[in-house]
Every structure is written in structure tokens, then in C-alpha cells.
Symmetry: C2
Subunit: 414 residues, 2 copies
């Protein structure tokens, strides 16, 4: 990923299919003040707080678990039909801190191990390394998770004397694969989780942005409380607030809930999430009756349009080129393209320098790295014009590469 960032810096004029950032054209800088005012009115009207109390809520050190937990719970109820006790929610400094708290809590000694569906979001792998927690891969299979492989990996770890703690999954439009689990797979995954006593860490930053078919989150089907739900407002709220959350309603003997354990770690690493940043997100939630589906109607439409433009553009250019295939996610930010030649950092550099187009090698998302023949294209940040010109440039790069490539260079798809 460092190399990718360097390439992006060296060639700032290249069209970037690499950045999975939220769309910027709808940002309204005056919204910040407005959100804070809306939140202040809410504190006065609904929570009956006095002027000095409101001042204290926004300015002073705040509750470790957060201040907008009730609004987050209402959002989960409204948009995801997930019912949770607000006391089991910790509002965090983005979803990364949520992952950090959970993984640090799960790592008691060197016998603990977690699993993640591959290809895996690099941020998760990074947090696991930071807390010295080994991550073992589980194949994604055709439906987002290979349950037989998961069982086998858990059994193998147990046989080695290790303690399997959790499996990290992104059931909806995973980063980077773009895959989505069927409802049936979700239910079967939950059953495996309960049988194995293995927590599921459900990361759901993109679930909102679908083409019309909503599927229940694992947490919405979680009768056994096996799911720790990792939430982000970076895509659905406002990235600059750096506000995320975790729902950890697992009972813990003598300690309330798992959330209370996480709160102790939170109190050490960042003390509390900025109440001002929380007020910004709180105001946005309140403006839309806590529905982020409603708040993101325009964004959802833009991401749908961008995916359509990207997929149509791929069809138009590569529909009849042998060896080039891609998936067709019905939501999220990412499409994966399989190419008939090897992809590595050197090709990325050439692509940026000679052709002015940047993308992410899928090898970055596997623990072993190496080369592969897949690339991830993100379309979330781009305008229609940039998607078109980016695809033109990509087509030229691919054309040149195909001309140069001998059959020996061709590698198997992972």
C-alpha cells in the first residue's frame, strides 16, 4: 500500500481507480455548523439538558463509551432492524479504533488467533499486527466465505494448541472483493460460529450502498450474540468526523458486556471520541430521523451510477477480449478485474507513468503478497468523465501489455 501511495504522489494527474474514498462533490462545508446546531437543539429539547450541561457535553472530556450511542442504536433499528442496548455500543475514532479495541481485547496471550476471509482489507491485517495477534486466512469461495475451509482452519488451530477467537468478515460488498454473502450463507455462517464458539467480527461500511436489494446484516440474525458489529460513519456520515462504533453485546461473566471490556481499553488509548465530532454525526443522524438510508439517497444513486458506468465501460472495451473477466457487484465501491497477465508493482508504475491510470493490485490483500493477475477498481470518488477517461487509459495499458505478453507470463487466477 505504501508503494501505491507513492505512485499516486509521483503521478498526481493519473486517474485513480485506487482510492476507495467517498464521493466529494456533495460535501457541503456549511453542514458542519448546521449539524452541531441540530445536535444542540436535540440535547435541549429531547434530553432536557440545560445550557451549561450542553456546553459541558460538547467541550469537556466525555463519556468513554460515547455520547451519541442512543442515536446510533436508533439508526441500527431503523436501517438494519438490529435491536441493541445502547449501553453495548462504543463510539470510536473511526472503525479502525473499533477493530483495535476488539482485537486487543481478544488477544490475551500468544495462544490467541483470529481468522479472516481472504482477500482481506489491509487495515484489519494492520491492526492485528499492531496487537500481535496472528490472522489465519479463510477462503472466500464463491459466496463470500468457504465454511468448510473455516471449520478446517479452526480445527487446525485447535490441534496446534491455539485458541480461535473470531473470524473477520465483510458480508456486504467486501473490500476488496466486492462479494456479497447470500442470506443462506449468513445463516450457515452464524450456525458454524455458534457451534465453534467463534465470534464473528462483522464489518459493514458499504451495506447501505446497494442496487435495491437489502440483505440482513449478520447482527440482525444474531440470536446467539456471536456477532461483534463494526460500524463506520466514514462513508455514510462524514469521513472528516472520524467517528465509528462497535456493538459488543456479548455478556461477560462479572463484567457486564464485552463492550465494558472494550471501554477500558478505549479509555486508555484515546480516552473518549471527540464529543464535537460526535455532535456532527449526531446532527446528521437527527436531520434524517436516524436513517442513513435516507441521508444517503443521493450518494447511493451516485455510487450506483458509477458502478454502472464502470461495468458498462468494462463490457464495451473488454467484453470480447479472451482472458479478461470481472465480477459485477450490486453495491459498494469495488470491482475486481482478472487479467490474462501478471500484475505487480512494476506494472503499476508503468500504468501510472505511461498511461496515467492507477489501480490496486489484488495481491496487496493477501498475507503472502507476491504477484497475481487481478486488480481492484474503486469507482466511488470518480466523476463520470474520470471513469470514462480512466477506462480509456486502462484499455491502452492492457492492450500494450497484451501485445508484449508471451504466454509464459500468464499466471493462474488466485
Amino acid at each position: 500500500m505504501n508503494f501505491l501511495n507513492e505512485v499516486a504522489n509521483w503521478y498526481p494527474d493519473a486517474v485513480s481507480f485506487a482510492a476507495g474514498l467517498p464521493y466529494e462533490e456533495l460535501f457541503d462545508v456549511d453542514a458542519i455548523d448546521r449539524y452541531i446546531r441540530v445536535y444542540r437543539r436535540h440535547l435541549a429539547a429531547e434530553r432536557r439538558m440545560s445550557g451549561p450541561d450542553i456546553r459541558k457535553e460538547l467541550f469537556q472530556y466525555g463519556r468513554t463509551k460515547g455520547t451519541i450511542h442512543r442515536l446510533v442504536a436508533r439508526h441500527l433499528e431503523v436501517d438494519e432492524h438490529i435491536s441493541v442496548d445502547p449501553e453495548t455500543i462504543i463510539v470510536t475514532v473511526g472503525c479502525h479504533e473499533a477493530m483495535f479495541l476488539v482485537l486487543r481485547a481478544l488477544r490475551s496471550d500468544r495462544h490467541d488467533v483470529v481468522f479472516s476471509v481472504t482477500p482481506t482489507y489491509t487495515g484489519f491485517s494492520g491492526v492485528a499486527r499492531l496487537v500481535d495477534l496472528p490472522v489465519r486466512p479463510v477462503a472466500g469461495g464463491t459466496d463470500g466465505v468457504d465454511l468448510d475451509h473455516l471449520r478446517a482452519q479452526v480445527a487446525a488451530a485447535r490441534a496446534e494448541g491455539l485458541r480461535p477467537r473470531a473470524c473477520y468478515v465483510m458480508p456486504d460488498f467486501a473490500n476488496p472483493a466486492g462479494s456479497r454473502m447470500s442470506v443462506e450463507t449468513r445463516r450457515r455462517l452464524l450456525a458454524v460460529s455458534a457451534e465453534e464458539g467463534l465470534l464473528l467480527l462483522e464489518d459493514n461500511p458499504y451495506g447501505l450502498f446497494h442496487d435495491g436489494e437489502h440483505r440482513p446484516a449478520l447482527k440482525a440474525l444474531d440470536d446467539e450474540r456471536m456477532v461483534v458489529y463494526l460500524g463506520s460513519f466514514a462513508k455514510s456520515g462524514l469521513p472528516g468526523a472520524r467517528v465509528g462504533y462497535v456493538v459488543a453485546d456479548q455478556p461477560v461473566a462479572g463484567a457486564g458486556s464485552f463492550a465494558d471490556e472494550l471501554a477500558k481499553i478505549k479509555g486508555t488509548v484515546t480516552v473518549n471520541t471527540s464529543p464535537i465530532a460526535q455532535a456532527v454525526i449526531g446532527g446528521k443522524l437527527l436531520e434524517h430521523d436516524c436513517s442513513l438510508v435516507a441521508a444517503n439517497a443521493a450518494e447511493t444513486e451516485i455510487y450506483r451510477r458509477n458502478r454502472r458506468l464502470l461495468l458498462d465501460g468494462l463490457s464495451a472495451r473488454f467484453g470480447s477480449v479472451p482472458g479478461i473477466t470481472w465480477n459485477s457487484p450490486s453495491g459498494g465501491f469495488f470491482v475486481v478485474v482478472t487479467l490474462p497477465f501478471a500484475v505487480d508493482d512494476e506494472l503499476l508504475r508503468i500504468s501510472a507513468r505511461e498511461h496515467g491510470v492507477i489501480w490496486t493490485p489484488m495481491s496487496y490483500f493477501y498475507e503472502n503478497g507476491g504477484t497475481g493477475n487481478q486488480i481492484r477498481l474503486a469507482c466511488s470518488l470518480l466523476t463520470p468523465d474520470l471513469i470514462e477517461s480512466g477506462l480509456e487509459r486502462l484499455a491502452k495499458m492492457i492492450e500494450e501489455r497484451l501485445t508484449e505478453t508471451t504466454p509464459n507470463d500468464v499466471v493462474d487466477a488466485r
Copy 2:
């Protein structure tokens, strides 16, 4: 500390000398909008940013190292005569994240060890535990750090095959001791640090709030770049922003500066500090030409008044009581009172329940805990009336205890 929080929750009407929080009466909730507007004008006028770029700066994911680093550098120059390259500053989620980044970076394996002057801020000890880094105590002595003991502790660790990495110090009005190092001690500490190749982690949240005599921070005297400077805006800026920083200008072979190493960890644990929260602090800095001394003129006067009221009130009540002594810090939030009887959680509970006054046992700030006969009184959050009534209650508690206490109960001061 958990017990202390519980007691505070059980007896909300007790006067609390426990909370070292910033004074609240001057908080102005409308300042948040104003600070953000001031910062936006600065981006447009001084940094020549376009409307879309300003929008992006506030809303989008941001620079890992932070966005207000130049303003922080200017503040350090203006208020502390510390000159640093802004590229060696990381803006963090409060000073706690700064401590986390530094300690995590310093812990490569189980041979690493750090030192801290005792009594030690519990937050530092907590972060060290979180990253599995052992902390060994160094006596505070009469001048804030016992240099002979520091040398001896470093030598002892080396003899055990350990790798001494750093010593944590709060040279100005330390929490909890209230002690302040002389300038001569600072110079000698820097010499020891350079000789031993031991970094100094200088935490300076209270240095601003003195009675008139400014002393140079270690970092201002740091010719050998042995000091990692931990900064907080919680007391001098606005606690609710949760913005702090670290200056880490140590060169690292092949990796730029130590700050660049810290940035990699920061990018994993919280990605970046909220640019909106940074804009709030940036606006406050800009409103006062980056001088927090100027920005905190009223607060500094209030803390001075409160310390005076507290110290005068102690003299008036205990000036002639044998066995009761206290220090007289010329700045900061804390005074330490030595009592002629043992202090423990049970006495704290009685004090809160029977007398309506809460304080912090100094034993909390020693790794071994146990009982002691000292208490920490914080006066930063209190109004004059509360200081008076709190002292009245404290006097009653002490009077009752003295009546009950037999000479056998008396313990030596630590």
C-alpha cells in the same frame, strides 16, 4: 481509579477534589462554529486553498500526520521557544494516542523497558500495559527526578539483558505530584539522557499555567534530539476536540524521522485525527496568533486564584496541626497533602459518604499501590465557593479521623 469513579457516581453531591478537569465556566459553545470559520478563512487566505479544496480538507479522510502541524509548530515557537520541523509533528487523538504511538514504536520485543518518575500519571502506566511494555520506577526526589536513581535503574535493567528505551517525565507541575524541575536539573537530566542513549518522553499539559516564572521545556534545551515531546490541547485548547500531538524529530536510519515511524502506527490505529476537531483547535490557535499563553490568560488567572484559595485554605485550617503538610506548587492543577494517618479506599468512601468530599489517594499513582498517607487535591474544575466548602468538609473528615486514630495507625510518608 475505577473505585474513585464509582465513589464519584455514588455520591454526586460530594465536592470533588479528584477531577483534574479544565475549568468549565469559560466554555463558550458558540466558539466552535467561530473557530471553524476562522480556520476556513486561514485555509483560503494564507494557504490559498480553493472552495472545493477547503471542503475536502475538512470532510475527507486527511493527512495521517495531521493538518494543523504548521500551526502547532508556530505555537511551540511562540510560547516555548521550541523550533521544530512541522513534518516531525503528528497530530493525535489527544495526548493518550501520542503516548500510545510512542510506546508501541519503542516496544519491539520483550527486552524493551521504559522508566517513569514516580508517582506516575496512571494514563501513562495504562498505555504501557496496553502495549506490553514494562515500566520501571525512578524516584522523584526533591527536584522532580532523582538522577542517581535513574542511572542505577538503567544500569540494573542493562545488567538483566534488557533494552532501556526511554524515561517518562512531566517537568512542569507533574500530575500527580505538582513538582517542578529546576532548570539545572533539566540540563543534568538531558546530559544523563544523552550519555545513556535514553529518550526522554516529556509530557507538558500544565506548563502554561504557572504563577509568572516560565521555565524552558526539556525540548527547548534539547540539542541532542533526545526528547520526544508529548503535547495536549485538552487543558490549553478544548478538551472536547480530543486533539494532542507528539514531536518526534529523532532521525531514523532510512526512515526519515521517528515521526514517520509513528505515522505508520497512527495510520493503523485511528487513520487520522478528525480534521474537523483539528479545525476547532486550529481556529483557536489562529485567533491568538498561535499563542496559547495569550489564549489562556483568563484560565491561567483562574487556576492561580484557585491554587491560592486552596493553599490559603489549607494553611488556615491545618497550619498548626502536627503531621499535616503539603507542597505549594507555583502552577498546574494539583496539590499533595500528607496526613498523619493511613489513606485507603475505605477512608475515601467514608469521606464521600459521611463528609461529602472526594480526593485521590496518592497510592493510585504507584505501581505497587497499597496504602499511603498522602492525597492529591485538584482545584482546576472548582469555583471559589466549592473550594471553600470542600476544604470545610475535608477538615471535618480529618478532624474525625485524628480523633479516632491511634498512633499505631500512623504510617510513614512514602
